[in-house]
């Protein structure tokens, strides 16, 4: 991992995760969501991003975490991918974090296989661990 890097950080259930800042296009407040029947359960729906239709994926479901409480509204983290943009739904948004290469470590072997595809590694920040997400993996839309 390179010397210094900036991450957008988010809270998803008990996890504190980060995406490379250059992959994050924008962060949006909770948006009106249109459900897509018959789609995979990770697909929360479609949002209207300034006239563009963007698929929203629930990061909790992506990471096999329990669903958030019904009344809590998720934030949209719009991520750039090679295919376009995808919105990842997170519980809340944290600060931008600067990291150095020294704090990085590969994900532990014990990580569940489902999560291992998405989590590239861990930054050992002074107060807690930052899970580094693979933007492309996380934003890949599963088919039903």
């Amino acid at each position: 991992m390179k010397a210094s890097q900036q991450f957008c950080t988010f809270h998803v259930g008990p996890l504190f995760v980060g995406l490379e800042i250059e992959r994050v296009q924008e962060v949006l407040r909770p948006q009106p969501m249109t459900r897509v029947p018959l789609a995979a359960r990770e697909v929360s729906g479609l949002i209207n991003l300034r006239g563009r239709i963007v698929t929203a994926l629930d990061l909790r479901r992506r990471l096999d975490l329990p669903d958030r409480a019904r009344e809590s509204q998720p934030m949209n983290v719009v991520v750039r991918t090679s295919e376009g943009v995808v919105s990842l739904l997170v519980d809340s948004v944290g600060d931008v974090v600067n990291t150095t290469g020294e704090t990085f470590e590969r994900p532990p072997e014990t990580l569940a296989a489902s999560a291992r595809r998405l989590i590239r590694g861990v930054h050992k920040l002074p107060e807690r661990l930052l899970l580094v997400l693979d933007a492309d993996e996380a934003a890949e839309i599963p088919s039903a």
Partner: protein, 756 residues
């Protein structure tokens, strides 16, 4: 004699004109640039190419005079280009004169379709001289006839109104500083009447009038696409604004928004029009394709076209080009027989392929038909079995119409040998996929020995489509979907009490004017929770191919012009969504893909769809088609009742069966309905009874059967309305239901009359 335009499409000429004018304008500039820098090889080469192109095209179009002028010009230019000659002002003048001559002739072609009567032999000679290195004073080379640059004096002299001397005299006076205009001088000197000067001036301005080049411009398609996108966005924004306006209660705003609405619609129409192209553009190459093909296979084929002027959006034209070519090739290669075969069969030796296009209900219909051999369903079946696409037993069950549809399966080809034309096994499935991809429909009908017809329904444009917005669920959690109006047939509101949705062996159906319409409950299909029968609901009758089905939804909203936007591919896997759109309130709604939805809900199960498709091809006199309810009577005998005679299908609990004078009856809808088992063992099994309710003059009878099998659509070759027939390759007894019902009712009534 001026050469006439041969039989060439006016459009081709028009294109040639536009292109040539553009080139000529560039030539003017390039020649002037060359004068500044005579050794600029690149510019010279460019000039050469331009003239060469014009020469080539006009040679092809048969404009001989134009060709001869450009030909010598080209020769001269080639010597310049190769460095044999140096560009001198003399040569430039001569070349510019040539450009003017070309322009003249083009203008003449544009207005009269002839090259005009101008004599260019002097110019040709001059250009030839220059090419050969002869120089002479250039004064007279410029005197080429040039309608647009003719002076008033020239026109008057040519038309014999004045003598050349008078013109020269007037011109001299002008040159000496006379401030009067030529016409004024001539009139005042008494050479001519004022009216004749005016006439001549009119001639002069007319010839300078607007031509093709002034009324059309070339625009990059990418720019048009961008405009279409922007108009799409504008339409959506307008939709939003129109929704806000009523809430504001502001008359001024209302007026402004109405104006916005009108202008947007007009703009949309205009922009869409810029992308419209006549289908003749892609058809025009078919006669050639067919000619080559027929020559290669020793056939005689004539291609006929109707409705070439029918217009479609450019993107659609692009999308249907290959499928159409494929179908025409198929017709020529597989369809039409060789001249000898045709002769032997008593057909005209010349086969015919007819291409027809016409507008209908906001769609374009394209029909490709041939009078060839038709498709042999038996051969199709054998081939399909051979290729292991269907099993032999499956194949045996298929009707002729169904068998024909097998050719739409991927990898299907019946060509006995692979020709260089067709028969490589990529074919009809690709055609169908491509047509369906743009929201079109395709169907095929064929009669052995008579010919094959392929019909297509194609949307006019893909960009903005009118759609019906429907709702699912209650107010708060309502989900909305858009249904493109092309698939829409009618809307039916159903409420409790009236005949609602009924079940045929678990499959929901709705009785629509006497025939049963299969129904898809969108809520069930999309698992949106609320699946209980609802108080009020709407059935949207949809057309997909030749098949209709109903879509049950909770609410019908407005129609809206929608812009179908792409959604991510994984969401399309179920192929029930064509895309998504943004509605007036800014929310996203999914656009339903009607054929896909029908397939998924299996109302469009392949076989049923096929049976329907077959229908129009069948002559009506010998065989009657009928929808029939097929069931087993309990002695493993198959029976059928015309569907029109079936009132309802019911599953009745055995507890409800009561006895009345030796006959089984039930209380049914406030009446006592006699039951009649169609065999001794009917209903002997456990569980509820399957009852077919038939009515006769308001009285109902329940026929007890073992189990309901299916509803089929079958041709019946039977004079009287009952007796054994073959349905789906099974002997089936078509029940004379009226006789049975009458008998049961009569017996029941008689029994009732017996005093207790």
């Amino acid at each position: 004699m001026p050469s006439e335009v041969p039989d060439i499409d006016i459009e081709v000429v028009q294109e040639f004109l536009v292109e040539s004018y553009e080139n000529l304008d560039r030539l003017d500039r390039e020649f002037l640039a060359l004068e500044e820098n005579p050794s600029d090889q690149a510019t010279l080469a460019g000039v050469f190419r331009t003239i060469h192109t014009i020469k080539g095209t006009c040679g092809f179009l048969g404009y001989n005079k134009l060709e001869s002028v450009t030909h010598v010009g080209e020769n001269l230019l080639s010597r310049l280009r190769d460095g044999h000659l140096k560009l001198t002002p003399e040569i430039t003048t001569a070349l510019l004169a040539m450009v003017d001559a070309v322009r003249d002739m083009l203008r003449s072609i544009e207005h009269t379709h002839r090259e005009g009567d101008g004599d260019y032999s002097g110019l040709v000679a001059r250009l030839t001289e220059l090419k050969d290195g002869v120089t002479r004073p250039s004064a007279d080379t410029a005197a080429s006839p040039d309608a647009t640059r003719k002076t008033l004096g020239e026109i008057l002299v040519e038309t014999g109104k004045i003598t050349p001397e008078a013109a020269q005299h007037a011109a001299r006076l002008q040159a000496e500083g006379d401030p009067r205009r030529l016409g004024e001088i001539l009139v005042e000197e008494g050479h001519i009447q004022p009216q004749e000067v005016l006439n001549a001036l009119n001639v002069q301005t007319e010839t300078r009038g607007a031509g093709v080049a002034d009324t059309t411009i070339r625009v990059d398609v990418a720019l048009l696409d961008k405009l279409v996108d922007l108009v799409g966005e504008l339409v959506l924004t307008r939709n939003r604004i129109l929704q806000f306006v009523p809430e504001q209660n502001d008359p001024a705003l209302e007026a402004a928004s109405q104006r916005l609405n009108a202008v947007t619609s007009e703009l949309q129409e205009g922009v869409m029009k810029t992308r419209m192209q006549p289908i003749g553009g892609i058809w025009s190459k078919f006669p050639r394709v067919v000619r080559d093909l027929s020559a290669a296979c020793g056939k005689q084929i004539r291609v006929e076209m109707e409705g070439e002027e029918t217009e479609l959006d450019k993107s659609i034209i692009e999308a249907i080009k290959d499928p159409l070519t494929h179908l025409v090739r198929n017709s020529a290669d597989h369809g039409i027989e060789s001249a000898e075969t045709r002769h032997r069969l008593g057909k005209s030796p010349e086969g015919r392929i007819l291409l027809r296009a016409y507008h209908e209900a906001g769609q374009v219909n394209i029909v490709i038909s041939d009078d060839g051999a038709g498709i042999d369903p038996v051969r199709i079946k054998n081939k399909a079995v051979e290729c292991q696409m269907v099993s032999a037993t499956q194949a045996a069950k298929l009707g002729d119409g169904e068998a024909l549809q097998l050719i739409f399966l991927p990898g299907f080809s019946t060509a006995e040998k692979v020709t260089n034309v067709s028969g490589r096994g990529v074919g009809m499935d690709v055609v169908r996929t491509n047509i369906e991809k743009i929201g079109g429909l395709i169907e095929l009908q064929s009669q052995l020995g008579i010919g094959t017809t392929v019909r297509m329904k194609i949307p006019l444009t893909l960009a903005i489509v009118p759609a019906l917005i429907v709702g699912l669920g209650s107010d708060e959690g309502e989900e909305r979907f858009a249904i493109p109006q092309v698939s829409l047939v009618e809307l039916v509101r159903i409420s409790d009490g009236v005949h609602g949705i009924e079940l045929v062996h678990g499959a929901p159906v709705f009785r629509l004017r006497g025939s049963l319409l299969p129904v898809v409950d969108l809520a069930v299909e999309f698992a949106s929770g609320e699946t209980q029968p609802r108080r009020n609901a709407c059935i949207i009758v949809l057309q997909s191919g030749d098949k209709q089905f109903g879509l049950l939804v909770d609410a019908i909203h407005d129609t809206e012009e929608i812009v179908v936007k792409p959604i991510d591919q994984p969401l399309k896997t179920a192929s029930v969504f064509a895309g998504a759109t943004i509605l007036g309130d800014g929310k996203v709604a999914l656009v339903l893909d009607i054929p896909g939805l029908g397939q998924r809900a299996s109302v469009l199960s392949e076989s049923r769809e096929r049976i329907r498709q077959e229908a129009p091809a069948v002559p009506a006199e010998v065989v009657a088609r009928q929808s029939m309810l097929v069931f087993e009577n309990g002695d493993s005998e198959r029976m059928a009742i015309p569907l029109a005679r079936v009132s309802r299908l019911e599953e009745i609990d055995r507890d409800r069966v009561e006895k009345c004078r030796g006959r089984q009856v039930i209380q049914y809808r406030g009446q006592i309905m006699p039951l009649f088992p169609l065999s001794s063992s009917a209903g002997a099994h456990r569980g509820p009874l399957n009852v077919i309710v038939c009515s006769r003059q308001g009285n109902e009878v329940g026929l007890v059967v073992e189990n309901i099998i299916d509803v089929v659509d079958e041709r019946i070759t039977l004079g009287h309305g009952h007796g054994p027939i073959v349905v789906r390759d099974r002997v089936t007894n078509l029940v004379d239901v009226d006789a049975i019902v009458d008998r049961v009712l009569a017996e029941f009534a008689a029994e009732q009359e017996v005093p207790a």
